[in-house]
Symmetry: C2
Subunit: 711 residues, 2 copies
């Protein structure tokens, strides 16, 4: 359940769309969920809750636990957002941050070279001085939340059409964000859209760009079992890494961090997940779910299959290629496996019946006026989907996988947007998020010509497939050459491999970009010229109407079901909860609540030690130092989705007992329903991490630092 | 350049379409080809010629070679069609047949079990008694050819619409075939369509169904370098196997077979390829090539990427799965690599300009009446493509990959068709081809439940993606379950795994099939109900108009360019010719005309002996018995395409000097143009085959039998 680059970047385009949904966790809905296709689950703990709207009643009633305001503040400020789409947490008084190896992988790759392969061999900083600054890294901590719904919704006077109303709200959001930066003195103040546009909250965050790698296991241990075991359980992986936040060149001394529970957890324990679930679409209308099933997911999966095969071919050419593409490829495979199983679940006729029954039951409980509002909103969603379906093939081919091309596109877009006031810009370039956008464009992370050429070739040929070989944009981009030759020419000729050249263009503004003959910029200009009208059409005729429609549906749900509902995931910080418990699928061996380090060795032996079940040499040599009974991975039924990767698993006392890294196959419908039944979130046990730091990695200093907090 | 199962079965649907094209090899066209994107090639020898219309003038002028009628009869009757889409040749007085390992692979797989893995370990029959009958195998030899154009074209009275004219021609064809069977006493008499419907020839063939495996190398040697080296050169593979034809339980004693040239060949030699090129589309109209580039190839590639990833996942689950899916998967990978490079070449703007210039130059040379006919034909093609585009997504999802499901679909279709007279049936069930169709349905080759379930799941989910999850056919086929569960249920419940159950249904006829509750038959009935209207629409509104249009274009070309042109490949026997010669790509090492057995070991060492560059144990043990200077693979510039795999490479004296098995990457535009330039066909040198039979495989008796013919 990695939130990898390609999904993240794709979901940037879809974010507005997918955040335009709302879900309720009322008692009625829970009954529907629990009686659905995934089997009955009396103890199901559903919901990705807002930190400022924690499910106190459910926790008290079901688990006799009352989260205090201090407890909530503590876990909120210990949680870290890692990069654009990952989760993490502060775990020491000196700013150590724990996340998944697969979340940190992009940075680990950037620090690797042909000579020093940190992905394959892992890394331990023996001293603070040895910690390695990760190029282009960014972490943030959500510091405070304010409800600004009245101001934002009030900005759109009644009578405006959806696009004009959306523009008015966007201008107001920009103003609120600018004021908040001034007032709160926090670098990142962002108004987030919740309940599909029915609520707006201001999220103010601390921000860190000096992030250093402290410990990474070998990739082989981080992703033991590879694509084969991904989303499976029982599982045996130490999908964990440590980085440290620095401020002004010194380790950050946080006010809040999670203490390490050295006793760990046990089956039956109540646990919490605090992280950044990327997106759910749980209250899409039935026709919107059908669109996901029949158009969007098949389209995205086709792109993913294509990327996977082409990346495998690229990797097969040399060991160096394999190293360079590994992170990208494992992200693609992860996304493919997730979407494949999600689609398989959506193609279950029973699931669609369940969605329709749920919509019908809401209508049945609604007043006449509310029912009319629901009908109008459903029709508005349908119209937006018709529009989206038309632009989808071209639109979805325009998202760059090449970092180089993404930088060129970004330079062209950002310089154009910065000429306008913040409230009128594309929202990814408004002032609130500008520093992060600039950081991405100026990342000093090295780019490999072979990889970039491979990815640009793939994009050129995809555009030719989708738009047709005679399309004017395609012809301009190809400039008379086949995709492979043109990609090589662009990469060989560009100066954007260096940060200085990018900076010069950004500083030179639109005139400098327009005058540039850099082939990557030329390529970007041609694509942006075709992309911008689609984006405007998407914003005005897909996103805005959907936002209005889902806000209306959310209002209707508040009317019928009351205020006690949670919003769909949107990448913002959430609190989930659940119980640690094993399960049993019919005809299969029981899946225990915990696996062990001994089980890791057994699994490798059972598979003959062949990849992806081989163990690194260090692990084979030191096997006898390991206590085989040490818990390794565990399962709980908390509600998570992609983006939760790296989330801390926290106990009643707010101490860390685990690290979320995956969900099992039964969990794969989580995009549109809480799976219940045997669906489980997977975590690395905190005890395994400190045990291997001491026994395998000669890093007792790190184990001590982690455990010191708990004493 | 394997002609694998999935492409073959897909191309069944497309055969009418793709055979509806015509290409000319006039001097003018040669100039265009030689001056095109693929670089200049003064010595280019273009064309896949009919055996009864050999390019005598070109051979005499360019190579001072005049093929005598006896020479042509000899190579024609020595050539063998292997299965549905492969080539082979008779190479001994006792009926030994040489073909590619990858062509024989399907049969080798069927003879393999978990205990006796002939794919991995290879096979040598030490005696005739040890030769293994291949279940469901079929070979045929084209015995004689008659031109029946006047009778077929005359059957369609003028004034009929294209569909009615097509029906009249089809009835006439069926009558001609029936009469010929009677008159000639040959089991397979088939009227083939040439020049897109401008010419019709009767092909009468001998047919063999007792085909026994004699020798197969380890798959690792047959496909050394795997997907990585496929379509690459220099190359080091012994992609060869031997089978023997039996008649009445005795080895077949052929009147004609190719003698083995023990001296082999050398650079500069004129060589001939006699085989069954599957299809070319060289004279598609420019808009038809654009359709191939923008619709058909991207669609087929998407399906191939999907199959490849899903088969890799299936293979990854166990060694047994890997063994079971290997042939299917390597076929998929082969098709993907071919289509990927073909598409890349078609996306070259220069190629499309070349096609348009070629069409313009034909027009420029035409009379006013001919020009009007060309315009009308172009418009008719365009209209047919619009129609095809509409049915394409559903249509292309209905082709089965599962053998089990193909059998169920075939039983349902065949019983329905047999109720009609031969001339009114779907053409794949007319009397001329009925024995082969029945043989496929009653093949005793074992079916694996896991493989069939995997492939049926993939097809169910593909149908749901293409038609939508709420489509009535999809709902009926899924029967309330997600694709995976439904596929398992069908495979677990069907009785069609046994031949007896299939025979009972075939004998019971339409009533028995309609009454059957066998879940595979139920599934097939639902799909056929949706498939049949599409097929009828395809036949009437895509195929028939295209056939009429391309016949008109062919007539126009005969008018302008004269009669000396070759028709597009259609799977029928053809003669190509060319010269053995190496080449040099800019910035790369020279590619020599020949590689050697010593080079094979060097390549393996250079790649660290890692898969797919590992060598079987027997090869490593016996390395010192090998003469490293023995020629292994060679390249020539004869004109070939998929389906030519297994074709003999023949010298001026009609002796065998090699075995075609692949083309290089520069050859990959061969579908729509003769590549020229550095495009090359690849062959296994005859000397390598006898050398390894003696040194590695302890099979001097086979080497002797091969070489005996040459003495």
């Amino acid at each position: 359940m990695k939130q990898h680059r390609s999904v993240v970047s794709l979901s940037d385009q879809f974010r507005a769309l997918v955040s335009s949904a709302v879900w309720n966790a009322s008692a009625a809905a829970l009954v529907i969920a629990a009686s659905g296709a995934c089997g009955s689950a009396a103890g199901a703990d559903e919901g990705m809750w807002l930190l400022n709207q924690a499910p106190a009643a459910a926790l008290t009633q079901r688990h006799a636990f009352e989260p205090s305001p201090e407890w909530l503040t503590h876990v909120q400020r210990s949680a870290v957002r890692y990069g654009g789409g990952g989760s993490a947490s502060l775990v020491s008084a000196d700013g150590l941050v724990l996340t998944n190896h697969h979340v940190a992988l992009d940075g680990i790759e950037k620090l690797s070279t042909g000579e020093r392969n940190l992905v394959r061999d892992g890394f331990v900083a023996k001293t603070r001085e040895e910690e390695l600054a990760i190029p282009g890294a960014e972490c943030s901590i959500l510091w405070q939340i304010e409800d600004v719904t009245d101001r934002v919704r009030g900005a759109a006077k009644s009578g405006l059409d959806p696009a004009a109303a959306e523009a008015a709200r966007r201008a107001e959001i920009s103003a609120i964000e600018a004021e908040a930066r001034e007032r709160l003195g926090l670098p990142r103040c962002e108004v987030v859209t919740l309940y599909g546009g029915a609520r707006f909250h201001l999220y103010a965050s601390k921000r860190f760009t000096d992030v250093r790698l402290v410990w990474a296991p070998e990739d082989q241990i981080g992703s033991f079992g590879g694509d084969h075991d991904n989303f499976e359980y029982p599982r045996f992986a130490i999908d964990a890494s440590l980085v440290r936040l620095y401020e002004n060149g010194q380790p950050y001394k946080p006010e809040h961090f999670l203490k390490w529970n050295t006793q760990g957890s046990k089956e039956g324990d109540l646990v919490f997940v605090v992280g950044h679930p990327g997106r759910t679409s749980r209250l899409f209308t039935p026709s919107h779910v059908a669109f996901l099933r029949d158009v969007e997911l098949p389209g995205r999966l086709a792109g993913t299959y294509r990327s996977e095969v082409r990346d495998l071919i690229f990797a097969g050419r040399s060991e160096e290629n394999e190293r360079l593409i590994q992170g990208e490829l494992s992200g693609v495979q992860n996304g493919r496996k997730f979407m494949m199983h999600l689609l398989g679940n959506l193609q279950d006729p029973v699931l669609m019946e369940r969605k329709r029954a749920d919509a019908a039951s809401l209508e049945a409980g609604a007043s006449e006026a509310t029912r009319a509002a629901l009908h109008a909103a459903n029709a508005q969603v349908d119209a937006s989907l018709k529009e989206f379906r038309e632009i989808y093939p071209a639109w979805s081919a325009m998202n760059p996988r090449s970092d180089l091309f993404a930088i060129a596109l970004g330079i062209d877009r950002m310089t154009a947007e910065l000429a306008k006031p913040s409230g009128e810009r594309l929202r990814e370039y408004r002032d609130a998020v500008l520093p992060s956008a600039r950081l991405r464009l100026l990342s000093p992370a090295p780019l490999d010509a072979g990889v970039e050429s491979h990815l640009i070739e793939l994009q050129l040929s995809l555009l030719a497939e989708r738009l047709g070989g005679d399309d004017p944009t395609v012809r301009r981009m190809l400039a008379g050459k086949p995709p492979r030759d043109r990609a090589r020419e662009v990469v060989a000729g560009t100066r954007l491999m260096t940060v200085a050249a990018r900076e010069a263009l950004l500083d030179g503004g639109p005139a400098a970009v327009a005058a540039s003959d850099d082939p990557a910029i030329v390529l970007a200009r041609h694509l942006n010229a075709a992309w911008r009208p689609l984006r405007d059409r998407f914003d005005a005729r897909v996103e805005a109407p959907q936002r209005a429609a889902y806000a209306a549906i959310a209002d209707a749900r508040f009317d019928v079901l009351g205020e006690w509902v949670y919003p769909d995931a949107t990448g913002t910080l959430r609190l989930s909860f659940g119980t640690i418990r094993g399960y049993q699928n019919p005809g299969e061996p029981a899946a225990p609540a915990f696996t062990t380090l001994g089980g890791l060795f057994a699994r490798s032996e059972e598979k003959g030690g062949r990849p992806p079940f081989d163990l690194p040499p260090r692990w084979l040599e030191r096997r006898d130092k390991i206590d085989p009974t040490t818990p390794l991975n565990l399962v709980c039924d908390a509600d998570i989705i992609g983006g939760n990767s790296g989330s801390p698993l926290v106990d009643r006392e707010g101490r860390l007992v685990g690290l979320i890294f995956d969900g099992n196959l039964e969990f794969m419908a989580t995009d549109v329903v809480y799976p219940g039944g045997n669906g489980r979130a997977l975590a690395v046990d905190s005890r395994a991490i400190t045990h291997v730091l001491r026994t395998i990695y000669d890093a007792p200093h790190l184990a001590d630092e982690l455990e010191a907090g708990g004493k």
